[in-house]
Amino acid sequence: MKILKTVSFRTLGCRLNQFETDALVTSFHNAGYQVVDPNQKADVTVINTCTVTNQSDQKSRHTINNAASKNPDGLVVVTGCMANNYKEKLEGQEQITYVVDNDRKSQIVELVDGHFSGEVQHPDNLSGNKFGFETVQKSLHTRTSVKIQDGCDNFCTFCIIPSVRGRAVSRPVQDILENVRRVVDNGFKEVVITGVNIGRYDYEGVSFEHVIERVLELPGDFRVRISSLEPDGFSDDFYQLFSHPKLAPHLHLCLQSGSEEILLKMRRMYSARQFMDTVERFRNAIPDFNFTTDVIVGFPGESDADFQQTVDFVKKADFSHVHTFRFSRRTGTRADRMNEQVSGKVMAERSEVIRRISEENRLRYMHSMQQKEQRVLIEKVNEQGIARGYGEHYLPVEFAVTDPSTNRFEKVLLQETLPGEEPVMKGAIVGEPALKGF
């Protein structure tokens, strides 16, 4: 019997990285490798790194060291944004076999295959293709992402991503549509549209809203979710898209700050007023539309008054979740050279304030959703017959089922909010009473 080579993966950072790892899992699986848990020894370990903050760098370094020490005889392949940002440094580390930049990430399986067959090559000789990832078949998730865009030209003053992901490039429309068709044919019920700055999608005159419209027109019982989006200004067509039943009424719109002055210093492409107008326009059309966001606390020069504006904004916009980041200096960015850096203590205090408001907002939003129906995509069912999944508004829902199968939709009436560290909504399949004891 042929002994399969084993491969394990470790992923840090954003949803795009997660998607790219999922695609690599598929590539290795299709190439005959056995994918094993990261805690097991493996012939090949792929670490998909992140470099967006100093903390990300630390985590990436720790993950590399940990993986390499567990697999002293295996290949260690480091890829992702840290591989772009610190390429030469990483290449100088003996424990790392290959450092593969983002452009060549999709070809890692070729590199590893070549290594084992004696055709060793430098990763730089691989052909670059930002959209060359395999269609995900064997995913670790119920929903899958489709990458439509890579890179960013916005050059926000705090962000290193344009330097490590390169300039904005959009995937051809037909490739995207074909990719969605394939993942739907493979059985995925939820497609997350992803990229670095997807709102800037522009392929031969086809804009973001119009490529989404084409995706929504594809046949099949699936829904579409838009991942993290920059609120750079939306056309009327964008708002119209959300009348389509396949498009989830949820957006993760990155606010970063509620202070107009700080937004200018961050060189964001919108004002706080514009952002609030966007939120209000959506809520006028769809009152229970779910907004989540990112906020950076402690950007250089952020005064107490600036921070209070962020607090007020987060309350007013009623984000159901706020992902709070403490500002992290990145060499090579404009913000790194700014005066008036905010102390770590102040950042921690501000972060805690936003975290508490976020929790309050979340519970309030969940309460407001009680007695409403959601179409829940079941991700798992436990031994007690309790299913868990997400509705179209991106709230976690638990309910009793008799059919233990997953990856299917159920219409669920939301009945109660169960608070806790990770609040969840309790419901019952429409037309069926909740089971006793649940």
Binding site: D153, T157, G166, E260, L264, K265
Partner: protein, 220 residues
Amino acid sequence: MKIATEVENFLLEEVRDINKSTYVLKFSRGDLGFKPGQHLNIGLTGSGQHREYSIYSGINNDSLEVLIKEVDDGMVSTQLRKLKKGEELSVKGPYGFFLTDAKPKEGEKLLFIASGTGIAPFHSFVMSNPGASYRLIHGIRNIDEAYDREHYTEGSYFACTSRGNKGDYNGRITDYLLSDVEEKADKVYLCGNSSMIYDAMDILRAQGYRHDQLFTEVYF
């Protein structure tokens, strides 16, 4: 015409001094395409240090120009000024979206508001669209910062000087805007330091401008 995606080395053609601290860097263009309002990341070849500078020249010029104000102890702006004709500089880009929708339309009134070297994207726009109708308000300290004012259509350029008495208006640009004597425009583009933009935006909103009429680019 190509859009540069990676670092390219271009050759310096001229360093044209405008005043003690400000100069125009002129260099080979190759076949680089750009839109007025976009910027380049420029540094000394091999230094690894780049800074953003808006393109100053027009789209029809054979060479590229950027307008640079030297920063005290700056790692890039001071070094670029020392370059000699024929020496290489490292260029990435072009990037950005500022002004890219500011197409001259019949009857449309455009108001440009700049502070200091924030005038560069407007200079590029004007050089690229010779017949365009616009009004340019430039906030500067002294009149010697009225960079190349003769390049603008007669009567279109208006200097607000915060020091001295040789400006078209002697005072801060925000004080001038508060006087509300400017004819209302259809679109207003602002480029300069964040404090000026922040204050000016408040004034313009109070004067009835909607946010979809206001466009900004921050300079540091």
